[in-house]
């Protein structure tokens, strides 16, 4: 039996729930409630008796049709009848796809650092995740040479999110094209999770993988309503893929969940039809909070360096040499904090747990996102400005008080 480990993000949240007075910037969840127009429509459908039965396995037709229209406005074309499947969030779309395309021992290339659950999703499908380091000095970009070097006969797919979590960076059109050309040459699939596509700042151009219709047989486009419409608890998203593959994935999806929660499907339809302004408001709020968190990081240059995120709602500051030095010199608190061996060896885990138990703030250790995420922490600025303020003040005070004098 292959062993999966609980996502480190979830582990941090569980640990945080047991710490009195702790404030969390760990999990990637915004502090906003689902927009009123969506909740109102959900209640109407519940009252009308529209939600008690299964929908057809690919999802309610109105929602799939609305998704096709919405994608078409973005220049992305899929047939809602055969190529769009409503899923229980993005992770179900990824899992159903991997279960469809992988045989035992097949390899999936994953950028490092990236979202923690991808590796476990690959293992869940009896695959082997192969991590490819991103180039931090070049804005966490893809190095296509590394990509090609890691392709073997067993490589079946590449899986990544764009914009990237935790780095908050986006892949350029050129990079995406190169990835697709390599995928075409090597006959591998390209799974792209665009859950943060609506939160791109500074008027930067975001290039969706779906725009490359020439490669549509290779592409599995994945999106979730969780972040864009503050609907993380509703568990609804979708995937779009060329007809032949989509029909195979549909069979897996049927086995996994039969259909996505019907009340959530109606709510997702309401989101597309009515919640544009709310989504825009979220984006503007996150943009302001990004400035807030960056201004606090500017005041901690002694401890962190960082790249200003251009998208999503995460900052991924890197430990300064000084911080690495003092952390290495500090004896671990293995027993006190119930650290596992791999956590004890990781400075980012040690700092994250130290901050949780001593400063009462929850962050995600960078090592959780891959080895190249080590010596970083992830801070979510989707949370309220008050929470961001409290966390950043506590981190600074903790580091200054504990390590400032030793420096």
């Amino acid at each position: 039996m292959s062993e999966l480990i609980l996502s480190p993000i979830k582990e941090m949240e569980i640990r945080t729930s047991r710490v009195f007075g702790a404030v969390s910037l760990a999990q990637g969840v915004a502090n906003f409630d689902t927009p009123e127009c969506i909740k109102r429509r959900a209640i109407e459908h519940i009252k009308n008796g529209d939600v008690a039965r299964y929908s057809l396995s690919p999802g309610i037709t109105e929602l799939r049709e609305a998704i096709e229209v919405d994608l078409a406005k973005r220049g992305i074309h899929y047939d809602f009848e055969n190529e769009i499947i409503i899923t229980a969030g993005a992770i179900e779309a990824i899992s159903a796809t991997l279960l469809t395309i992988l045989d035992d021992g097949d390899e999936v290339l994953i950028p490092d650092p990236t979202y923690t659950s991808y590796q476990e999703a690959v293992k869940n499908a009896k695959g082997i995740p192969v991590l490819i380091s991103l180039c931090e000095e070049d804005g966490w970009s893809f190095d296509e040479k590394k990509l090609e070097e890691n392709i073997t006969k067993k490589t079946k797919a590449i899986l990544f999110c764009n914009p990237n979590n935790p780095t908050g960076t986006i892949y350029s059109k050129d990079q995406l094209l190169k990835i697709l050309e390599i995928a075409e040459k090597e006959n591998i699939y390209v799974l792209v999770d665009e859950v943060y596509r609506d939160f791109v700042y500074d008027n930067l151009d975001f290039c969706s993988i779906g725009l490359f219709s020439k490669f549509r047989k290779r592409i599995i486009y994945i999106f979730s309503f969780s972040k864009a419409y503050s609907m993380t608890g509703w568990r609804v998203g979708f995937l779009a893929a060329d007809k032949t593959l989509a029909q195979k994935i549909l069979a897996r999806h049927d086995v996994l969940v039969t259909c996505a929660p019907v009340v959530s499907q109606w709510s997702a339809l309401a989101a597309i039809e009515m919640a544009d302004e709310d989504r825009q408001f979220f984006k503007e709020s996150f943009n302001e909070r990004r400035d807030l968190i960056c201004s606090h990081l500017d005041g901690m240059k002694k401890w962190f360096t960082y790249q200003k995120p251009s998208s999503a709602y995460f900052s991924f500051p890197k430990f300064s040499k000084q911080l690495i030095k003092v952390l290495k010199n500090d004896k671990g608190n293995k027993k006190k904090y119930k650290l596992k061996d791999y956590q004890e060896k990781s400075l980012s885990w040690r700092l994250a747990l130290e901050l949780l138990y001593e400063a009462k703030v929850a962050v995600v250790p960078g090592q959780a996102f891959g080895n190249f995420g080590e010596n970083h922490i992830r801070l979510c600025f989707g949370r309220s400005s008050d929470d961001i303020l409290r966390v950043m003040v506590r981190i600074k005070e903790h580091l200054d008080n504990k390590y400032g004098e030793k420096d």
Binding site: E62, E65, F80
Partner: protein, 264 residues
């Protein structure tokens, strides 16, 4: 309180819409069915972009409140009382005083529950109806859409036109409810407007269209058979409307010879 407020808005919008329809007497094209309404409407508007006096629903406003808003060309007030007051005041002005109004309205008609079509037909009087698809959302039997669509088709006058997808069994079965001439479109040999030789690649779809002796080629960058149907249905509607704009009464009197039709 909310229900009362909604009822007042609904009834007042209905009154305003009936007034403006009575004043201007536009030709109304109703696009209905479970899906494909928006695609067809958008495609009709694309095909008629050079014609003046043609308007469709903004977004997909197609319900008891949405449809009147579409006719009056007003935004929704959503959950704000103040916005609704503005909407109703603007609607009153448009309905009673506005002189310019489209000659052709291309409107989606939505169905959520039994009786919706009957209610919408008490507001607008379509002369042309288009139905491309009737799919079920749920895995058990439901005849709601069948009954509602039969209600719409039987409403279209003898002088109007009904445009149906012959490839879709449930849609084609609506034929028996129509007293208006029917134009069937689809791949079936019996179709008046026939789709042939569909070719698909990564850039979209190409296909041939046969209308009597007339042959043409159409292409779309969109995928899926429903988009082919939408394009063809829109093509049929647009042809009818263009003829109508040239000679206003033709479509109403059913004298247009541009496409084959079955007289009922």
């Amino acid at each position: 309180m909310k229900k009362i407020f909604k009822f007042i808005i609904e009834r007042y919008l209905k009154l305003l819409t009936k007034i403006i329809i009575r004043r201007h007497k536009p030709l109304v094209v109703a696009i209905a069915g479970s899906t494909n309404k928006t695609f067809i409407k958008e495609q009709v508007l694309v095909e008629l972009k050079n014609e003046k006096g043609v308007r469709g629903n903004p977004r997909s406003f197609n319900t008891e409140i949405g449809l009147p808003l579409a006719v009056l060309f007003l935004p929704s007030g959503y959950s704000s009382i103040f916005k609704w007051v503005d909407v109703l005041l603007a609607g009153t002005y448009i309905s009673v005083f506005q002189r310019n109004f489209p000659r052709i309205l291309v409107l989606e008609m939505g169905v959520q529950r039994k009786g919706d079509i009957k209610y919408l037909l008490s507001i607008i009087k379509p002369s042309v109806a288009v139905i491309s698809d009737l799919s079920r959302n749920f895995s058990d039997n439901e005849n709601l859409m069948d009954e509602e669509m039969a209600c719409l088709i039987s409403f279209i006058p003898k002088t109007g036109k009904v445009i149906l997808n012959i490839d879709h069994g449930r849609v084609a079965a609506l034929e028996k409810y129509s007293k208006a001439p029917i134009i069937f479109f689809g791949k079936d040999k019996k179709a008046d407007v026939r789709i042939k030789n569909i070719r698909r690649d990564s850039n979209g779809q190409n296909f041939d269209l046969e209308t009597g002796n007339k042959k043409s080629q159409l292409k779309t960058e969109l995928f899926g058979m429903h988009n082919v149907y939408a394009l063809v249905a829109a093509n049929v509607v647009a042809t009818e409307i263009k003829n109508c704009l040239k000679s206003r009464p033709s479509i109403i009197k059913g004298t247009n010879k541009n496409v084959n039709r079955k007289e009922k």
